[in-house]
Amino acid sequence: MAIMHHLTDSLLMAHAAGQLPEAFGLVVATHVSLCDECRARLAAFETVGGVMLDGCGEAAMSEGSLEATLARIAGRPPEAPRQAPRPGIFPAPLRDYVGGDLGAVRWRGVGGGVRQAIIPTSRAATVRLLHIPGGMAVPDHGHRGIELTLVLKGAFRDAGDRFARGDVEVATEADRHTPVAEPGDACICLAATEGPLRFTALLPRLAQPFLRI
């Protein structure tokens, strides 16, 4: 099935410029791994970076820097050959962070059959895997700022739109969205939020600090 829901230009440009928090970068890289359209758009923004590099002037390298660099090169083992793509649910960037595929995830229940696994990243934003049983609503995150939800397995519906593997929903706090997993198999998503996620619908606020373990 073709991917229907993509990343925005500003997210792709911010990623190309190296300005996204790591948590958002992981969702962007995972979507791009599945989506040639966004891979091409990201590469187009990276071309702008190439233009910036061309135009940013020259700063003199120190004496003997070429020789130092060649010594650096000689002192390093050759690159490992390209790894064959491994079958599985998680594209490579996500697999690298999790340390394996879906089976390697250490889930924690957060109520209502919903499970989550926080992926450690820099603290500017939070990214987690969510396991939503079929027919269940994704918990109301009560998030601030922007939220990205990328489907890896199964599907959810939100306000008439269907999101399946590879689709990413880009939402703000202004969108009062309520994604609901389609009946049947559980829906596995990768969700990035600014700041700590608050499961307001499921848990008293006092419990939140313990969620982020």
Binding site: A17, Q19, L20, A44, E46, L53, E58, T69, I146
Partner: protein
């Protein structure tokens, strides 16, 4: 903080149809041949130098790349806030990475400047922000071992055209774009900088991806 303005835009153009893609390729290819002579007169062929490093571990080619790109990478890192010693260290590291990753360079999808930029950007995130940089999965089939010189040339020219287009932008917009890439722009401001003439380049890259997939299948 990111803000909702990151939502202000969305996917722009629809995918090229297969017919449109072929026509675009033919047009680009013809143009590439026409401009071959002109472009070759302009300066060194950086693509050929990278391929010489990849295929022959050619130190002369590497030295030429180093003389051109290392001072630019260092300048870029200084502008992005690195101190002199760190910028020097990172620029050397970026050039060493160019050597080691030369087999991943695909001239049908990026000019050498763009590729070096991505290495420098990742190095900057690593050294200045001390956070990991999640990278998309590399395409399993990788670049073609013998890239079509036309493809490489057209990508090079498209990058130059984009440079000229950016140079013609109003000062205010160009300033926003520069600040976005040097890292002193908030994410909400980045949304204002996204209106760039990238359609042709995106189509070229999309085409290169499609052809790689086609070759595999």
């Amino acid at each position: 903080m990111l803000t909702g303005t990151l939502l202000a835009d969305n996917v722009d153009a629809p995918l090229l149809t297969p017919t449109g893609a072929i026509e675009a390729r033919q047009r680009a290819s013809a143009r590439g041949r026409q401009e071959l002579a002109a472009s070759q007169a302009q300066g060194p062929d950086w693509v050929a130098e990278v391929l010489a490093v990849r295929d022959r571990r050619d130190q002369r080619a590497f030295a030429a790349l180093f003389r051109h790109f290392a001072p630019r990478v260092k300048s870029f890192l200084l502008r992005a806030g690195a101190g002199e010693a760190l910028a020097e260290e990172c620029a050397q590291e970026v050039m060493a990475t160019l050597w080691h990753k030369a087999h991943l360079f695909d001239p049908a999808r990026a000019s050498v400047s763009t590729w070096v930029y991505t290495i420098a950007r990742n190095r900057r995130i690593d050294a200045l922000r001390r956070q990991r940089r999640p990278e998309p999965e590399e395409l399993p089939w990788g670049p073609e071992p013998e890239p079509d010189p036309d493809d490489a040339l057209v990508m090079q020219q498209e990058t130059e055209r984009l440079g000229a287009a950016i140079a013609r932008l109003p000062d205010k917009q160009r300033d926003l774009i520069e600040r976005a890439f040097y890292g002193d722009l908030s994410h909400s401001e980045i949304a204002e900088a996204t209106g760039l003439p990238l359609g042709t380049i995106k189509s070229r890259i999309r085409l290169a991806l499609e052809r790689l997939r086609h070759q595999l299948g």
